[in-house]
Amino acid sequence: MTPSAGSVWGVHDLTVRYGHRLALDGVSLRVPSRQVTAVVGGDGSGKSTLLRTLAGAVRPVSGSVDRPLARRIGYVSATSGVYTDLTVDENIIFVARAYGLHEGLPARIAALLERAGLSSARGRLAGKLSGGMRQKLAFVLAVLAEPELLILDEPTTGVDPVSRSEIWRLIADAAARGAAIALATTYLDEAERAAQVLVLDRGRALLAGPPDEVAAALPGALCDLPPAQVTADLAPPSWRNGSMRRVWVPGGALPTGAAAVQPRLADAVIVACLQAEVSASASAGSAA
């Protein structure tokens, strides 16, 4: 069975609590087929919780979740989820049995392992693979049953650059075959490759949309200044950008002589997080 065309999965107005802690607060996410939808945010922002809820591993307090049946979902957890004490082949056979796959299985396994560069590692214990190889194995397991919805929780975290690009090639392949892909990442350059991006901060959605539109919607103006020129009044909304400091001027009036630079997704995310932090501090101050 191949993924059905035109499906849109996702969550709407989702709230998740772990005990008294609010992990997600009214978050919505659309995951259309044939696209990669990236969820970005810092540690504890709620990325994993959102994907785990979409996968069915977490029960929300409120909101709706649209997902295919379990056998049409592929999931790579943040810990990769492969059995380290089984070989590559044994891991694959376990998943094939779980999903009841029989037809053309050997050829499909061989093709997937070839694409993932794991053909020569079939007899190796998954625990003995490098981090990148293990992540690729996790990806192979997730796409073995040709899922309609592929959920990847930080599939490239801690992976070397070569393996990262290989994993992204596999992700692109899966999207081209029709899968709807929801992917969490802390790498904003990876998020820029996605068709849609959702930025989370402390369980709340800060920004959403295509990466270039999110970047273009950044209010105010940006410029790059040498660190020595960043004066005290400009200092708070500035961050390192190579050897320069990128300065955000909310009003749009740049310092004399400074040239405006085109905002990127990373700039939009940083500004949104700064604004959220200011807003949270103000709320805490007024509450006190």
Binding site: W9, H12, G63
Partner: protein, 374 residues
């Protein structure tokens, strides 16, 4: 040194189970060895049969607790009483006043048998009890040489099943959670019961193989008799495994690490070893803590194993032990399945949840608001 000591205290403060174990264990040992570890038998259940049963029952040494007096019965019925575990001692009175009574003792009740022997031997020859049984040589049935191995090996079988059922199962499930693969299983197309049964099946098989090996070793190496029904014994073992596997899964659902699982498993193992009658006779344990033994599954398996293997007891005489294992098994297993389900189907695999819609059940509704879920 001070920095490390402070760090250890901080870590210990957060490891409540270890602290609880460190603080509770001395009390547990104090109670167990103070009240439970008692080889002194103050009361031995006895049946008295034969024409002069009533008269004999009236003059028996005080240690004998006469549970039945049956003038119409003979030696065969007395042996049957011991086989069924109704009593530990049977006194068969002679057909005439000039005859000598017979004193039959159940050899599977080591300490009670010894107490009976001592009571008979020490009865003053001038007393009525002494005149009745003083010169009688007790006949030890089922385990004539009072060999410890005959008594211990059937109980040891239970201990092995507890070990595999509880510790191995708990570790197997916790390992899955610790490795992060439990979450993977939760989102795979498995029903919770598939995962549950799939996880415990290998341990069930291992336990069955282990049990067969220990039974064979007991029979061939230690000459432990197997007088009863193999099927009845197998039924008891399956029921007992049912409970221990359930305890193992239950422990796994409340443990995040293998260390925690082992700690909890040891906490369930220790009372079973000490308070089940495996080592110390249950009737010698102080009444205040004896009740703990009655809620431990090993108590009933030890009764079944010793009864069937050594005495050849029929199922009908052990029905209460079978029933208790079935009740305990149902309780523990149900609780463990419920908790296991919570881990494996947190999002409610049932497709009726208001917060969830599954694609092939309803058309995709990415923007549909289903409102608050329960």
């Amino acid at each position: 040194m001070w920095a490390i000591a402070v760090k250890e205290f901080l870590q210990l403060r957060r490891d409540r189970r270890t602290v609880a174990m460190l603080l509770l264990l001395p009390f547990v040992f104090l109670i167990v060895f103070g009240y439970a570890a008692n080889f002194d038998v103050k009361s031995v259940r006895a049946v008295v049969v034969g024409p002069f049963a009533a008269q004999a029952a009236a003059v028996l040494p005080k240690v004998f607790d006469v549970v039945a007096t049956r003038p119409a019965d003979g030696r065969a019925q007395a042996v049957d009483s011991l086989r069924r575990g109704e009593a530990v001692v049977a006194i068969v009175t002679p057909s005439s006043l000039s005859g000598k009574p017979q004193l039959l003792v159940d050899g599977t009740e080591f300490f009670a048998a010894r107490a009976a022997q001592v009571a008979v031997a020490s009865a003053p020859s001038t007393s009525a009890a002494g005149r009745l049984v003083g010169s009688v040589k007790p006949q030890i049935l089922f385990n004539p040489e009072l060999r410890t191995s005959v008594i211990m090996i059937p109980g040891l079988l239970g201990l092995i099943l507890v070990f595999i059922g509880t510790i191995a199962t708990a570790l197997g499930v916790v390992r899955e959670r610790q490795a992060g693969t439990m979450e993977q299983l939760a989102v795979m197309p498995f029903r919770p019961r598939d995962v549950f049964l799939g996880k415990i099946a290998p341990y069930l098989l291992l336990a069955a193989v282990d049990m067969a090996v220990v039974v064979a070793a007991g029979l061939l190496v230690f000459n432990v008799p197997f007088r009863g029904s193999v099927l009845a014994f197998a039924l008891g073992a399956v029921l007992f495994l049912f409970v221990t596997l359930g305890i193992g899964v239950l422990i796994s659902t409340v443990s995040q690490t293998q260390g925690q699982a082992i700690q909890l498993a040891m906490m369930t193992l220790l009372p079973q070893i000490l308070l089940s009658g495996f080592i110390f006779p249950l009737y010698s344990i102080a009444a205040g803590i004896r009740w703990i033994g009655y809620v431990l599954p090993l108590t009933y398996f030890v009764r079944i194993a010793r009864g069937i293997m050594v005495r050849g007891a029929p199922v009908s005489s052990l029905w209460f032990s079978f029933l208790m294992l079935a009740v305990l098994g149902t309780l523990v297993f149900s609780l463990s399945v419920l908790r296991f389900r919570r881990d494996l189907a947190p999002a409610g695999r049932s497709r009726t949840s208001p917060a969830i819609s599954a694609g092939e059940e309803s058309p995709p509704r990415p923007d549909a608001s289903a409102g608050a879920a329960s």
